[in-house]
């Protein structure tokens, strides 16, 4: 299975240079221009861009017809599917690393009101896990082209939520992120969702493959 992960990582590294540049810009621009909002912007945008990278690996598999060759490899379907979910977790680790790095950079430059690190971590994890939990089964079921609809929905959802918050004058009590039990609870739910998504994807993959 690690071979499949290595394949996707090598292809990503060689093919996605423009997006890598975009990720660097997403980190540098808010840090220099809007340091007060930098952490929340980074915690949303970096996972978003990295998630697109992971989803694109399906597209590159499709172009090279990799799935036709994968059936010849000594890998059961559950491992082939698991490799994509592990890739999602790797992208999450990279996102969180960048978020933490940005937080300490803001601290270093003594930016006050730079935001809550725990909240930024939860936001990044929330975005990455929900995105892939929905996206991976959709890709396996309907193909990479259809999955773009889900991507558009993801772009719209934060806008809709912030509009609703504005309309009803709702506020998030950020102190909730100071409670570790809340964070543990959120993480538990998210990883449960990811696991359920994995089981669904394996079922879809097996059904699609053995037509």
């Amino acid at each position: 299975m690690s071979g499949l992960i290595k394949k996707d990582l090598i292809v990503m590294k060689r093919k996605f240079k423009p997006i890598q540049l975009l990720i660097i810009l997403v980190v540098i621009l808010p840090l220099s221009q809007n340091p007060q909002y930098a952490l929340i912007i980074i915690s949303l945008m970096v996972p978003f861009l990295l998630s697109i990278l992971v989803s694109s690996s399906f597209g590159y598999d499709q172009i090279s017809k990799w799935e036709e060759y994968a059936v010849a490899l000594p890998l059961p379907p559950k491992k082939i599917v698991a490799s994509k979910y592990i890739l999602c977790l790797i992208s999450l680790i990279i996102s969180l690393f960048i978020v933490v790095l940005a937080f300490f950079l803001l601290r270093l430059f003594e930016v006050t009101n730079s935001g809550n690190l725990a909240m930024a971590i939860v936001v990044s994890t929330l975005f990455t896990i929900i995105y892939h939990s929905l996206m991976i089964p959709v890709i396996y079921k309907f193909g990479i082209e259809t999955s773009h609809t889900v991507l558009y929905a993801f772009i719209l959802i934060p806008t809709i939520i912030s509009t609703l918050f504005g309309m009803f004058k709702m506020k998030i009590d950020v102190s909730i992120f100071d409670h570790s039990y809340f964070i543990i609870f959120v993480f538990f739910i998210l990883f449960l969702l990811l696991f359920l998504s994995y089981l669904i994807s394996v079922k879809i993959y097996k059904k699609n493959r053995l037509k």
Partner: protein
């Protein structure tokens, strides 16, 4: 267990095509050429062997084990060569070894790079810049680097020039001799099958119509030509297939049962047998199998 691959009653039903109760036995150390027209069912058989599609009936055993129950164990010892390279264009020789090493327990980097060297593949170039012939050679290097005991090759020489085809076939032949491995070689290029196969299986419209040792083809079959004014009896014993044209009738006959007469007889090869079995009308006196 004398057969590395045993297929019994294999059936797959599609809306417009049925692979119909196929039986196929490949002994250890032998090369079987699976030949048939496009759409005859060659790739369907290979997909079923690889458990890439669900079979509707029948049984497949590889190395004496069920191909579904022991799928991963079997695939560790299987070398699969397909008609194209399925690696991303941005990858290169080294990246492929990095990817394949953790996938196959038997992956041998030394063998892989020795084939890369022998086949004169440039390690610094990306696959995207390789020609079709170079990609086919790369497929060989990948396929043989796991020390496979059975090679499943699906049209590995299609679209290649005769020189590269010959080079590729020679490498596979050398490998089989050295390793006492077996090959199931699917192709519609009859000359390739002639060069490599010990046993020939002809598939037509989802059914196996003949399995024979290649060297027996010349001994068992012959072609006879009747001119337009000569009587031809399709029910005569030994007549397998016949093809009528404006001025003659040509027939494929089985030598041991046909009563020879004053006509001219011509030797046949795999291509002739294939053409008769696909394009010819069946004689009433005999069947191929």
């Amino acid at each position: 267990m004398k057969n590395v691959l045993e297929i019994n009653g294999l059936t797959k039903v599609y809306n417009d095509f049925t692979l119909d109760h196929v039986n196929l036995f490949l002994p250890y150390g032998k090369i079987m050429g699976l030949i048939g027209e496009n759409g005859a069912g060659k790739t369907t058989i290979i997909k079923l062997i690889l458990n890439a599609i669900r079979r509707d009936d029948g049984k497949i055993e590889i190395f004496g084990k069920d191909n579904i129950q022991f799928e991963s164990i079997i695939k560790e010892k299987l070398g699969v060569g397909l008609d194209q390279c399925y690696f991303d264009d941005c990858l290169d020789i080294k990246a492929i070894s990095t990817i394949m090493k953790p996938i196959f327990k038997n992956w041998d980097n030394k063998i892989y790079f020795s084939y890369i060297d022998r086949l004169k593949l440039s390690p610094s170039k990306r696959i995207g810049s390789y020609s079709k012939g170079m990609k086919a050679k790369l497929n060989i290097a990948i396929t043989l680097s796991t020390h496979p005991k059975l090679l499943i090759l699906d049209e590995p020489t299609t679209g290649l020039d005769p020189i590269i085809r010959d080079e590729i076939l020679q490498i596979y032949l050398d490998y089989v001799k050295k390793q006492n491995a077996s090959i199931l070689f699917s192709s519609h290029i009859t000359s390739d099958i002639e060069k490599i196969a010990d046993i020939v299986t002809i598939l037509h419209k989802g059914k196996i119509i003949l399995t024979i040792n290649q060297k027996d083809i010349k001994n068992q079959f012959s072609e006879v030509v009747f001119n337009g004014n000569e009587p031809f009896d399709s029910s005569k014993k030994g007549v397998l297939f016949y093809i009528k044209s404006v001025d003659s009738v040509r027939a494929l006959i089985r030598k041991d049962s046909y009563q020879f007469d004053h006509h001219k007889y011509f030797p046949v090869n795999i291509e002739k047998v294939l053409l008769y079995s696909v394009n010819g009308e069946k004689g009433k006196g005999e069947t191929l199998l």
